[in-house]
Amino acid sequence: MDEELDSRKVNNSFLRDHNYATEADIISTVEFNSTGELLATGDKGGRVVVFQREQESKNQPHRRGEYNVYSTFQSHEPEFDYLKSLEIEEKINKIRWLPQQNAAYFLLSTNDKTVKLWKISERDKRPEGYNLKDEDGRVRDPSTITALRVPVLRPMDLMVEATPRRVFSNAHTYHINSISVNSDYETYMSTDDLRINLWNLEITNRSFNIVDIKPANMEELTEVITAAEFHPNHCNTFVYSSSKGSLRLCDMRAAALCDNHSKFFEEPEDPNNRSFFSEIISSISDVKFSHSGRYLMTRDYLTVKVWDLNMESKPLETYQVHDYLRSKMCSLYENDCIFDKFECVWNGTDSVLMTGSYNNFFRMFDRNTKRDVTLEASRENSKPRAILKPRKVCMGGKRRKDEISVDSLDFSKKILHTAWHPSENIIAVAATNNLYIFQDKVN
């Protein structure tokens, strides 16, 4: 594993205007499409940037598969809910690609309240020739028109357009944290803190509530939904995670309203580890089905866990992401970092897991060899086409060369969002306002 990762090199990184990095530039989501040809990012400013992988060229073999900007558009704008006197941020919470259905690409993007379906398409021809105007746009005298002209299409420079196709709004009282497209290619679900709604991709004025955990009396609220996802190929199965560290698997075949789960995954708490922070750090921040559909991966504050769908009592595997933070809980609580929502991803073959940490570090765990590695995504340490070095964090006084003390970690540099190419070893890592793309070294 280490060797494999050592041989990774920085492919290229996209740096937004780093000197003037504003809040709006902070990347809030990263997602590859189903072929890996495109990569989309969303940011706090409501923008979506789509990158396209360059075709391989024989002249520049070292430039294999670089990702370049393909399309940039403003997906969401800040809004104000006048009825509730509430500002609605434009921040893109999630992006999900739709399976490709024709030459155009489609993605869903969501902020706290509204999901939008975007079409990204190419145009390389434009019509020419008017009857009432000449080539320079001057209006012709109508009396000089003696014959009709039908416009003719001429080739032009490739233009990429992003057009909003559907707006799915007014269905969520709370903040949307997840969207997930169903394998039936027909529906998707949107999840907020207390409810999950099911939409048909073609119908915007109606959605069905499939999960509702809102108690009749809000004072009795003990648990919120933190993430939800559809099974990759069973259209009737989905999972949602909760702030109490549990997972519920639901079967939409059984009933129209899935308030009763069909499976409940939870690890019994270890009484020795119980502390004031136990409940906060056990909250699940992300849940992902493996590509095979057999496993579930969850991320809580300190660990990544892999669950087998057939075993509800405890996780199959547990990996420590940054156990060295256990001693720093108080300060992490005070600076609110303990509430950070780290995401997690599978590699294409479900053999490696990746998730983020602080100080621009991100972690990878090989499920077969049980080896893990810490890598750093930062401009200082990585020039284009440089090889990434593993990093180590040490605790206590003695610090070896190349190690970093836990006290000198920068908690403002966090990697919350990462993505793994669906079939190749290419990863995208969002570090605040920078996007890094790493891939296996090309010989």
Binding site: P99, Q100, Q101, N102, A103, A104, F106, K119, S121, R123, K125, P127, Y130, N131, L132, K133, P142, S143, T144, I145, T146, A147, L148, R149, V150, P151, V152, L153, R165, S183, D184, Y185, E186, E202, N233, H234, C235, N236, M252, R253, A254, A255, A256
Partner: protein, 589 residues
């Protein structure tokens, strides 16, 4: 060509052509809708060589423009030179059949189906069938879904080798990787089966049907239920048991409630398709299970079909089946936990009385009606009340009236105004069935109370209700019972109630006739012209305009005109406006 006709006639067409590319969608849409005008001016040759190639490449446009284009092209045959050249329309429709927007694609397919009939058998094989194949083998599933709708139109008119190819393509699409395509194929399965020879239905369609009905995706399986109806009608009775019933039984017990829902929803069609014997042996128990399903959506769909199912049962055993198999389930549904189930049942249960006859209705159904009339959910009660006419024919409404009245009164006073509104709408019907005496005694006061409801929509509906009651009971009844009450409201301290008087007069004057209007209503209206509230005064002007046609000319000249003239000089702008409008409409100036 057009050039010789001179500039004047060319100009509007030139504008239309230029506007095909206008930035304003509405203008583009207008232009597309007049595409036939453009084509006519260009002539058939230029339409084929210039206009159609241009249109083929304009699939970047907005959906509504593309939709209009797809529709236009379906009736373009004459404009390209008749059936001989109809194949020129295929390229633009082909590209429209691959766009992502379902409505546009469906319209393009519809137009393709339409023009397929205008192809000669030779052209069909040379031009149309290759297009179907291209779509069926397309890279994107949008084109493959479109292909599914085209097989059935070309199949009957091509040679047997091509027929074999078409069947093969259809088979391939039924097992496509993407659920979208399998859904499209499943939804066209019945239609395709209809054009196939019976042998191929058995050898080709049945295996496909069985496979789709056990697809891993619920959304595909439920479409197979629909296909089941058409396939069952095609097959001879003796083959149904072996070829269709196993699949249907499986669907009725599917793990997914959506599939069972579909079975419940299509139950009457299925029942007709499989015939009386299978219905007795198989569908009756299946229907019982659906009525007892664990999912409320399924129970509601099945409850909706209770009447139709019972009606279509074979006559010889109808009553026994209903009494021993259906009615026990229905009794349970009356006290279902889900209100949608109860209200679905309430909307059809009354229909059973005509099927079961007087004695059974009194003994078995009446208790159910009475229970539903007392249901906690207003919608259930409303559905019972709205279907009273069925029972009236069989046992007469008197049997129910004792329970009916409290139910009506309760609905009439419901806290939700929409419920009150719904019951008002049934008042004329109830009045007709219960008769004038019962009405005067029990319901009249309710109808008057609604006139002073605090919700405008209720007051408005109440005035409309009065008009319908007068239509039923006649002007004399109106004069004795409701007109005095309405007119007395003109002295009410609340100006909204005073206005209600005017609104009632608007509604009633015509049905009450000239005499009552002139004698009783007009004086009150005129008196109200001096009301201190401007809203009342301008409503007087509007009211006078409305009742003017009912009055004779002497009353108009002597009484209405002076009042309107005074109102026309009112301080209030609106009063002036409506008074002047009334004067001019009634030609009193």
């Amino acid at each position: 060509m057009a050039g010789a006709e001179g500039d004047d006639s060319l100009y509007p067409i030139a504008v239309l052509i230029d506007e095909l590319r206008n930035e304003d969608v509405q203008l583009r849409l207008n232009s597309i809708k007049k595409l036939s005008t453009i084509a006519l001016a260009l002539g058939v040759e230029r339409t084929r060589t210039e206009l159609l190639p241009f249109l083929t490449d304009t699939i970047y446009d907005e959906d509504e423009v593309l939709l209009a284009l797809a529709e236009q092209l379906g009736s373009f045959t004459v404009l390209v030179g008749g059936p001989e050249y109809v194949h020129c329309l295929l390229p633009p429709l082909e590209s429209l059949a691959t766009v992502e927007e379902t409505v546009v694609r469906d319209k393009a397919v519809e137009s393709l189906r339409k023009i397929s009939q205008e192809h000669s058998p030779v052209d069909l094989e040379v031009h149309f069938e290759p297009l179907v194949k291209r779509l069926a083998c397309g890279d994107w599933f949008t084109s493959r879904t479109s292909a599914c709708g085209l097989f059935s139109v070309c199949y009957p008119r091509v040679s047997s080798t091509v027929k074999a190819e078409i069947r093969q393509h259809f088979r391939t699409l039924c097992s496509d990787d993407t659920p979208m395509v399998r859904r499209a194929a499943a939804s066209k399965l019945g239609e395709f089966a209809k054009v196939l020879e019976l042998d191929y239905v058995k050898s080709d369609i049945i295996p496909l049907f069985t496979a789709l009905a056990s697809d891993e995706q619920d959304s595909v399986r439920l479409l197979a239920v629909e296909a089941c109806v058409s396939i069952a009608t095609l097959l001879p009775q003796e083959d149904l048991e072996a070829l269709v019933m196993p699949t249907l039984r499986q669907a009725a017990e599917d793990k997914s409630w959506r599939v069972r829902y579909m079975v419940a929803d299509k139950f009457s069609e299925l029942q007709k398709a499989v015939g009386p014997e299978i219905t007795k042996n198989d569908l009756v128990p299946a229907f019982q299970n659906l009525l007892k399903d664990c999912e409320a959506e399924v129970r509601a769909a099945a409850a909706n079909k209770v009447k139709e199912f019972c009606e279509n049962l074979p006559e010889d055993s109808r009553e026994t089946i209903i009494m021993t198999h259906v009615l026990p389930c229905v009794k349970e549904l009356v006290s279902d936990t889900n209100q949608h189930v109860k209200s679905a049942l309430a909307s059809v249960i009354m229909g059973l009385s005509t099927i079961l006859g007087k004695d059974n209705t009194v003994e078995h159904l009446l208790p159910l009606f009475l229970a539903q009339l007392k249901d906690e959910c207003p919608e259930v009660r409303l559905n019972i009340i709205s279907n009273l006419d069925c029972v009236n024919e069989v046992i007469g409404i008197r049997q129910l009236s004792q329970s009916l009245l409290p139910a009506i009164v309760e609905l009439a006073e419901d806290a939700k105004w929409r419920v009150r509104l719904a019951i008002i709408e049934y008042m004329p019907l109830l009045a007709g069935q219960l008769g004038v005496e019962f009405f005067d005694e029990k319901l009249n006061s309710l109808c008057m109370a609604w006139l002073v409801d605090h919700v405008y929509a209720i007051r408005e509906a109440a005035t409309c209700n009065l008009m319908k009651l007068v239509e039923k009971f006649g002007a004399e009844w109106a004069q004795n019972t409701i007109v005095p009450k309405v007119l007395s409201m003109s002295n009410d301290p609340n100006y909204l109630h005073r206005m209600t008087t005017l609104f009632c007069i608007n509604a009633l004057s015509e049905v009450c006739g000239q005499e009552i209007t002139t004698k009783h209503m007009l004086p009150v209206v005129l008196k109200m012209a001096s009301d201190q509230v401007a809203n009342v005064r301008f409503n007087v002007a509007k009211c006078l305009q409305k009742i003017g046609p009912v009055l004779d000319s002497s009353a108009l000249q002597a009484e209405v005109k002076p009042v309107l003239e005074i109102l026309a000089t009112d301080q209030d702008m609106d009063v002036k406006y409506f008074a002047q409008e009334a004067i001019s409409v009634l030609t009193l100036a």
